[in-house]
């Protein structure tokens, strides 16, 4: 299988604060990578570096055969934009556009960014809303929806742009257990369709059952990575064991 994301020696500091210290990993096409670890370990920062919401301090990132940054030097603006369009992101707080209806949240990026026709955009949107079980909600506004529904809209919005990789930044952390299940089953469906995904999560059983590979991070470094059954069910490192103590009891 082909690598779709390659990260080598990634470093990220905020001032003197080193958030990510020399991290390397890759994601192959159709794979689901889970990133777990305590809060503040740098999990989300990795996704933010991939999506260009943060500038890396050093390191190399390649996405879909294009170079985003090589040894800390970024590619041309045009290349960066192409790379950005190949990634979709789902946020912890959904970040839907409150002034747009559910339908418009999905169609607007298609119209403005991909310059699709209105008919085409609505066709895509209705297909995705149906898939997300939201057909009846097309004309509702985000404030009228439950957290789980809002998160499904944001997944539809990301999928509409047909990204090669979908990134999830703690997609269920703002949801109650019932709604969490709702979102996890959506991600599971996407995994069955061989969507390439990186999921930052605190849902250990989800990471164990669904991911092809899991990374456990602490203090800005990868403590342990590999098959989810090894990393989560029988971790080798002391730090991993400690973190998963409550889960593996």
């Amino acid at each position: 299988m082909k690598e779709i994301i390659t990260v080598k020696h990634l470093e990220k500091s905020f001032g003197v604060n080193e958030i990510i210290k020399d991290i390397s990993f890759d994601v192959k096409k159709g794979e689901v990578l889970g990133i777990i670890g305590p809060s503040g370990s740098g999990k989300s920062t990795i996704l933010r570096c991939l999506t260009q919401l943060e500038k890396v301090t050093n390191g190399t990132i390649e996405i879909c055969g294009r170079t985003l940054v090589q040894n800390g030097v970024y590619s041309s603006k045009e290349e960066l934009r192409n790379i950005a369009l190949s990634l979709g992101m789902v946020f912890q707080n959904f970040n839907l556009f409150p002034h747009y209806s559910v339908l418009k949240n999905v169609t607007e990026p298609l119209l403005r960014v991909l310059k699709k026709s209105k008919a085409e955009a609505e066709k895509t949107a209705f297909e995705l809303l149906e898939k997300m079980n939201l057909t009846g909600k097309a004309n509702s506004y985000p404030c009228e929806l439950s957290g789980g529904q809002q998160q499904r809209v944001s997944i539809a919005r990301a999928l509409a742009l047909k990204p090669n990789v979908l990134l999830f930044d703690e997609p269920t952390s703002a949801l109650d257990p019932e709604l969490t299940g709702e979102i996890l089953s959506v991600i599971k469906d996407l995994a069955n369709e061989k969507m390439t995904m990186i999921v930052v999560t605190h849902e250990m059983s989800f990471a164990r059952d669904l991911c092809n590979k899991v990374i456990f991070m602490d203090g800005g470094v990868i403590v342990e990575q590999g098959d989810p059954n090894d990393v989560i069910s029988s971790p080798k490192e002391e730090r991993t064991k400690l973190f998963l103590k409550r889960f593996n009891r």
Binding site: Q52, L53, M89, N93, P98, P109, C143, S154
Partner: protein
Amino acid sequence: MPTMIKSMMEGTVVSIQIFFLTLIFAIPLGLILTSGRMSKNIVLRTITKWFLLIIRGTPLMLQLICVYFIPGMLSAAWFGKSVSLNRFTAAVVALAINYAAYFAETYRGGIEGIPLGQYEASKVLGYTKAQTFFHIIIPQVIKRILPAMANEVITLVKDTALVQIIGVIELMYVAKTQSSALFSTVPLFVAGIFYFVMNGIVSSCFNYIEKKLAYYK
């Protein structure tokens, strides 16, 4: 009595002209000042900050006097010939600058109140900075600043009365002259009613827009 009402109506027309012209210039000028105030360029930011402080920190009446008299004084000193704005233009210029300063700070408050996530989501979706600003940020800012803007616009209706200090004949000036001429307080009372009605219209306009935008939270 009919002549009193007639001349007060004429004064009202002047007041309304000043009101609308001030809004037409102050609303976009405020946006320009906000962009200076929020600029990454520290020089521009500092200059704008001080400009806003001075405009908001000195009396509007003083600013009216400055705008009307200073150009004449300077041109007399430099070219030996006094050139100045006409009274009406000076009034609109001074009011527009003053209100733009207040609007600028209101806009800034509105823009800073938009969650960072809105910018991040737009960026990840591939929106350009301009698209993000005009399609995602501005519509939400308008909704947020509406109550504060209503306050300021209502104040503007009443502040138009200040332009009489540079000799513009508007509603309040007419009311005062009529009051002395007729030796009666009735014209002043009528002027009060006129202002009250104008502000009634202004606030129902704002209520209407607020209701229109109440479809989302």
